[in-house]
Symmetry: C2
Subunit: 426 residues, 2 copies
């Protein structure tokens, strides 16, 4: 059984340990909610000051050129590309995840319907019943608008649900509740065998687990900037489309409907007629929020900094060790049978988080933990969720967090009135 | 003829003059491009530091509740509402202008088609040939998707172009090139007489001229946060829908297609099924970029601060005086016939900007002016454009800017090689 001393020893020998210094983490807090909002990179306040005071304040409108604002979204996109296995110029930072899901669905449907002799009969989107709500909401509206069937199934039913009517397989790579991770390569193969296109939401993957979109033959991917990418609250999101599809869209004169001016081939000509940009820039839309984008770059840079220590592979190994340790310690210390592990026990099937169910007490238990400085989150109806971002989480944090969970349960302190359910926040 | 001494006298007696102190404006610059990017509010750097260090850094995920991030977009929206004549809770800050144009078109089409016995036959969007490009680009894609005709006409042809086939009249209130301002009330009347819905882009109006959407019976409006609202580069945009339409959308089970999680009636329930929020929140989509949104609030607060000095009406009077003075001075000092006034000569038909055409020299003249510290901008093919934001522009600035224009033309310095055309930036 792992002891606290063992954990301190693991931390002392951890080649990734120094990456924690890239963040401002408040004293007395064990932060296990980087899957909802990554912490503040130490570089971000000074960078924000520079963008505000020097670039905006002194440079004014000139900074679109002189400070490189016009290239900023692509520069950050090229960095995220390195984390998800795609090339320079293939991925853009733009809008939010939900808007990007919409754009990807539009493009994927158009492409699925032009592919093969029966393309026009493809009228089903397959997804998971417990996919991330915003993906489902966008898909529901999209299906209604285009008179498609949105077929929602359980994870094990996905492959069987794909057939000659399937247009799109829309999945979140790592489930936001359980942390269960899909095999991307396998599902891309299954979708392609049925003639469908895949749209992957990497919101709980990018920066948390190695992703290799090209190797695994994905078609489209979107993802969030403010979770494991540490980009700050509401940071812009990203979108990737396979260059083959981007080229086909150009050949076939397909535009995505959010054809704002920055997706134009020559935005500064202010031409009357829309003409989409070459490349993935056709998925841009309007002017990006530069302040939030600058903070996102600071966040992404914390992951780029890890490349010298083995990058995503090394981070993945540490993440698996952390989540395995936490499960072991919670199960060793909480033997009353109140908690049920919801995340996969096999580390290879698990993202960088661990969730337990507690019938009736999930919300209150998490509030009691937060009062103790252990910040995870609650997901209705009964989940307590703990993210283990390997960039800044120590083995001793995982150990101590498990001790707090045990103490909250053993003491019954979570039953206090002040922890009664109110509206929760992601 | 107005002298420089007169201008100094006007500034000394200007009750709005102290509002200039709300901004950081670099020494040696006459900034006449607030219609493209408003300057830095003096409050913004400290506020950004607070959001980054205290709220993000120390508050972490808890700040969605404890720092009020979850209400921030609505709080800023309620402030913008005061500038455009609508009530609390009627207007939201969300996404970018282009995305909001798309949402407004979707809702307007659905409503136009349910209104009246021939609603389903309405298949035309009327707009201006020289409407702002991003509005046209979104409208082009939207028209293609829905098999509509996009009927682009000259300003004086708008009323005649409306008929029983019209679904939507999509207009920018103040033209981004000429500064010509539409009569909103008259065009709303004309559109409604034809049975069409109006969608107004207020990007060059909000914070620059008084807007009264309710009085003028508009249906939908969108606008930009980073121009006259001083919200910082790429600041989030806003959207307003008449509460009558919002109510009808609810009754008729109409959803806008960008139905991201924050537009859900109960986003934190993470329910599987989409159920749009009551009220204008149904036009939200994903998580807002909090840093950029916080800066936008600082920008909007500069306009709210003017309320004690007469608000938009007082700002409008000053703006008209500034633009009238500038036209008078430029025409008095540039008598060679090289410049042609493109903006309306009647101040009541003009927004807060002045544009002149110069065949062949527009780009170079503006570059020469920028080198002299007079920052306006160039719009292809031949316009030099000067914005006169009355919050921070002095009468002496208008006078001096005209002197610089005259000097650049008289000296021929704009013909220097270094001012030759390169890619321009908005």
């Amino acid at each position: 059984m792992t002891t606290r001393a063992d954990c301190l020893h693991l931390d002392a020998g951890d080649p990734l340990a120094s990456l924690r210094d890239l963040f401002e983490l408040p004293a007395g807090v064990i932060y296990l909610d980087g899957n909802s909002l990554g912490p503040l990179p130490r570089s971000a306040p000074a960078r924000l000051r520079e963008v505000a005071c020097d670039e905006w304040g002194r440079g004014l409108i000139r900074s679109w050129n002189t400070a490189g604002w016009i290239d900023l979204a692509q520069r950050v996109g090229d960095k995220i590309a390195r984390l998800v296995g795609v090339g320079v110029g293939e991925l853009v930072v733009t809008d939010g995840t939900s808007v990007n899901v919409f754009k990807a669905l539009c493009a994927a449907l158009a492409l699925a319907r032009t592919g093969g002799p029966n393309g026009h009969r493809r009228n089903v989107i397959v997804s998971e019943r417990r996919n991330f709500p915003t993906d489902l909401y966008i898909a529901q509206s999209f299906a209604r608008e285009h008179e498609l069937e949105l077929r929602l199934v359980e994870p094990h039913e996905i492959a069987c649900a794909l057939d000659a009517t399937s247009a799109i397989l829309l999945l979140t790579h790592v489930d936001y509740r359980s942390g269960r991770m899909h095999c991307m390569a396998e599902l891309d193969r299954a979708a392609h065998a049925a003639g469908a296109m895949t749209v992957w939401d990497l919101s709980h993957s990018a920066g948390a687990v190695p992703v290799d979109l090209r190797r695994d033959a994905a078609d489209f991917a979107v993802g969030c900037g403010y979770k494991y990418l540490n980009g700050g609250p509401g940071a812009p999101a990203f979108l990737w489309a396979h260059p083959r599809h981007v080229a086909l869209m150009a050949e076939s004169d397909m535009a995505q409907p959010l054809s704002g001016w920055l997706s134009h081939a020559a935005p500064f000509e202010f031409a009357e007629k829309y003409r989409p940009a070459h490349g993935v820039a056709r998925f841009l839309c309007g002017t990006p929020p530069v302040l939030s984008l600058a903070a996102l770059e600071c966040g992404v840079d914390t992951l780029i900094a890890a490349e010298a220590q083995g990058g995503m592979q090394a981070l993945r190994a540490k993440s698996q060790a952390l989540t395995t340790l936490f499960i072991e310690r919670v199960e060793a210390r909480c033997t009353g049978g109140e908690l049920t592990l919801v995340s996969p026990r096999d580390a290879s099937e698990r993202g960088s988080q661990v969730s337990f169910a507690h019938v009736g007490g999930g919300y209150a238990i998490m509030q009691a933990l937060i009062e103790r400085g252990v910040i995870g989150d609650f997901r209705a109806p009964d989940l307590i969720r703990f993210g283990f971002a390997p960039l800044y989480t120590r083995f001793v944090d995982a150990f101590d967090a498990a001790e707090h969970v045990a103490a909250v349960l053993a003491s019954g302190e979570w039953r206090a009135e002040r922890f009664a359910l109110r509206a929760a926040v992601t």
